[in-house]
C-alpha cells in the first residue's frame, strides 16, 4: 500500500480534455432572485470547472447584486446561494470582473461584495470580452 500519486484513477476528465483550452466568459446581468438565471449560470460555471477551461465571470447591471453581502432570502422562500460564489476559488475560478458603473449606479462598493473581485470600467470589460472564445449571457 505504498503507492503514491493516486490521481490516476479513471474518473478524471482532465486527461481527455487537455488539448484545447478556450476562454469562456459568463456575463451575469440579472438580479440573483426572481428568475433562475443567476443560479443556473453559477451551476454551469461550477460544472465548466471540470473541463479545465479558462473561465471568467462578469457582473454588470443588476447582476452586481448577485455578489452583494448579507442577502436574506427567507421572506421570499428561496435558497440563498450567494455563499456559493465563495466556493469558486476552490474550483480554480478566480477571474471575477465587476463593472464599476453598474456598481456605482446601485450605490454599492467593492467591500460590500461577498468575494474578491476586479472592478473595472465598462470599456475595460469590453476589452476583456473581446479576448474571449465564447461569451455566454445569463
Amino acid at each position: 500500500m505504498s503507492e503514491q500519486g493516486g490521481e490516476k484513477g479513471g474518473m478524471d476528465l482532465e486527461e481527455e480534455t487537455s488539448g484545447v483550452v478556450k476562454k469562456f466568459m459568463f456575463v451575469n446581468r440579472k438580479a440573483p432572485h426572481g428568475t433562475i438565471y443567476a443560479l443556473e449560470a453559477l451551476e454551469v460555471v461550477l460544472i465548466s470547472a471540470a473541463f479545465d477551461q479558462d473561465v471568467s465571470l462578469a457582473f454588470l447591471d443588476d447582476g452586481v447584486y448577485q455578489l452583494a453581502k448579507g442577502q436574506d432570502t427567507k421572506p421570499i422562500e428561496v435558497k440563498n446561494f450567494s455563499p456559493t460564489y465563495r466556493a469558486l476559488e476552490g474550483y480554480d475560478i478566480e477571474k471575477l470582473y465587476v463593472e464599476r458603473e453598474s456598481l456605482e449606479a446601485r450605490g454599492l462598493t467593492e467591500d460590500q461584495l461577498i468575494v474578491p473581485v476586479e472592478v473595472m470600467s465598462g470599456e475595460e470589460l469590453a476589452r476583456r470580452m473581446e479576448e474571449q472564445d465564447v461569451v455566454i449571457g445569463c
Partner: protein
C-alpha cells in the same frame, strides 16, 4: 422513496439522497451507509463531517476534484488523493459520501 430508521420515515429521492437536509442524523447516516455496504469507520466520518462543514459554508456539495484538494489541504496528502477516498467510498467519494452526509448530489458531478 423513503427510508425507515428507528420507526421514523425519511423521504429520499430516487437515488437515495435525503430530500430534507434537516432529516440527517448519525443514525440516518449509519443506515444509509449500511444500505451501501459501508461500515462507517472514523476515517469515513472524517470525510462525512468535512462534507457537511463544506456544505454549511458554501451551500453546495463539492465536485470530487474539489473535495480531494480540500481534504488534502485540511487532512494532509495521505488523505487528499483519489485512491484513499475511493477506498473509503467505492462509488465515488463525492457522490456516495454526500449521500451518507445527507447532502444533495454534488454540483458538477458529471
Amino acid at each position: 422513496m423513503a427510508i425507515e430508521v428507528a420507526d421514523k420515515t425519511y423521504e429520499t429521492d430516487e437515488e437515495g439522497y435525503l430530500v430534507n437536509l434537516s432529516d440527517w442524523s448519525e443514525d440516518v447516516a449509519n443506515h444509509i451507509a449500511k444500505s451501501e455496504n459501508i461500515d462507517l469507520s472514523p476515517n469515513h466520518w472524517e470525510v462525512v463531517n468535512f462534507l457537511r462543514e463544506y456544505y454549511s459554508e458554501f451551500q453546495i456539495a463539492p465536485a470530487v476534484r474539489v473535495l480531494t484538494k480540500a481534504i488534502g489541504k485540511k487532512l494532509g496528502p495521505d488523505k487528499g488523493n483519489s485512491k484513499y477516498l475511493y477506498e473509503l467510498f467505492p462509488y465515488g467519494p463525492a457522490k456516495q459520501a454526500c449521500k451518507i452526509a445527507g447532502l444533495p448530489k454534488p454540483t458538477g458531478c458529471v
